[in-house]
Assembly symmetry: C2
């Protein structure tokens, strides 16, 4: 029997997870944001992360397919539209370009072939497992836990700001096009998380439900962290790239700086 936390205690417990284990603390991000990585390593990061980006709408659609309330689906739908976009690239309204397309502008800017990126052929198996675990989690757990797992958005604006600043300061590839994904998320994530946090605070009505939400958020931070572990192992230390995974042309350990 878990004790029912007050609204403040529950919010603090959720935030504490971010402070302890959000992936902004991971050594790979420290290197990435601190200008310490070479071009090939950044390519590997962007390539692998593309699988996460392209899977987020599958995750949100899986959640939505379980919602009975059209009003709730209507709100959540915005997340899918944010990622998939309301139009293809090359059409007039730039603001309607989705997050997936914006991420491809980043991989373009890093010199990766779009067809190769989209094929997912070069991603690390561990990336696939971690991302798929997220989609499966929201399918197999309660709707409340599924929503709670999205609350890493509480911590996202800080990492996006750190990333934009680090990229602009250290890397030649940083420009309006390659940074467009992160800048857009600065607007979108706070709106999403306001809704998600309110939903969780209002719908976790027992101590057990609160603890399930805390576990869900912790699960989410773990799968983000695991993706960076795999990248670090393959492309930083010891640099053991699994057979079949992306091998950068540029394997110089030198910093990819301006």
């Amino acid at each position: 029997m878990s004790t029912l936390l007050s609204r403040e205690e529950f919010t603090a417990a959720l935030n504490a997870i971010g402070e302890r284990q959000y992936h902004d603390l991971h050594p790979f991000h420290k290197l990435l944001h601190g200008g310490e990585l070479g071009k090939g390593q950044i390519q590997a990061w962007a390539l692998n992360r593309f699988y996460y980006q392209v899977s987020i709408p599958r995750k949100d659609l899986t959640i939505m397919a379980r919602m009975d309330d059209p009003a709730l689906r209507r709100v959540w739908m915005q997340r899918v539209l944010d990622h998939d976009g309301l139009r293809q690239d090359g059409q007039p309204d730039e603001s309607k370009v989705g997050g997936i397309e914006r991420w491809l502008r980043l991989t373009d800017g890093l010199g990766l072939d779009r067809d190769y990126v989209r094929s997912l052929e070069g991603i690390l198996p561990a990336t696939r497992y971690a991302v798929d675990a997220y989609v499966h989690f929201v399918r197999d757990h309660s709707l409340l836990e599924a929503v709670a797992s999205s609350l890493t958005e509480l911590f996202a604006p800080a990492i996006h700001r750190e990333r934009i600043a680090g990229f602009e300061r250290y890397y030649a590839f940083a420009n309006d096009s390659t940074l467009s994904y992160f800048r857009k998320r600065l607007d979108e994530a706070p709106r999403d998380v306001d809704f998600g946090l309110t939903y969780v605070l209002e719908n976790a009505r027992t101590g057990e439900q609160q603890q399930a939400c805390i576990r869900a958020l912790r699960f989410k931070t773990e799968l983000l962290w695991a993706q960076l572990d795999a990248l670090h192992h393959a492309y930083v230390t010891p640099g053991l790239i699994p057979p079949g995974a992306f091998v950068p042309d540029d394997r110089t350990p030198t910093r990819y700086s301006r």
Copy 2:
């Protein structure tokens, strides 16, 4: 080993299913559209059919959650938006009211309480089984079969036209508000089915795949038909309403006419 049909033969085979077993042929619809039903019977139809309406987005989201291609998701998304709407009732832009809300205007016009309709408490268990079978089908079968099962939209405009004409001619409840769902679908369904049919024709590349699509469409017509069988049994002949299901106040067998 199934023979590969030509594009024309395959299209004809799909259309033949509609001609043989689409639910416009069901006796219940003949009574409904011919002005032969009483108010309570029409209430029962609209109440049960609401579960289908509210489940269609769950069905489409389940399909979308299985799509890897953002461009494909972007097209399919329109179906969910059509049903869930882009705004709540009472806000300015009438064109953005979703199909579910429009269906509630029909149940309003028939004198049913919205909370009761939304609660789903009065629907026939057989309605639930048939509708849920549709959601499960698109989850458990191939994406191609899931898309093929949507092709009853080939046959929908004809039944909507017949229904609008029959309602206007025979029933006192027919007005712009109660007919709004059907009129809107006259615009939406042809657009949806153009896409779905093209997708099926292009992606069913073997005789086996074509036969699977034909079976999927047949499955869909069966589940639509089964819903009317259940209504007919409970509310027409023999009129055996299962315990717990909706019991109309008005059980007069007289026609609910103008």
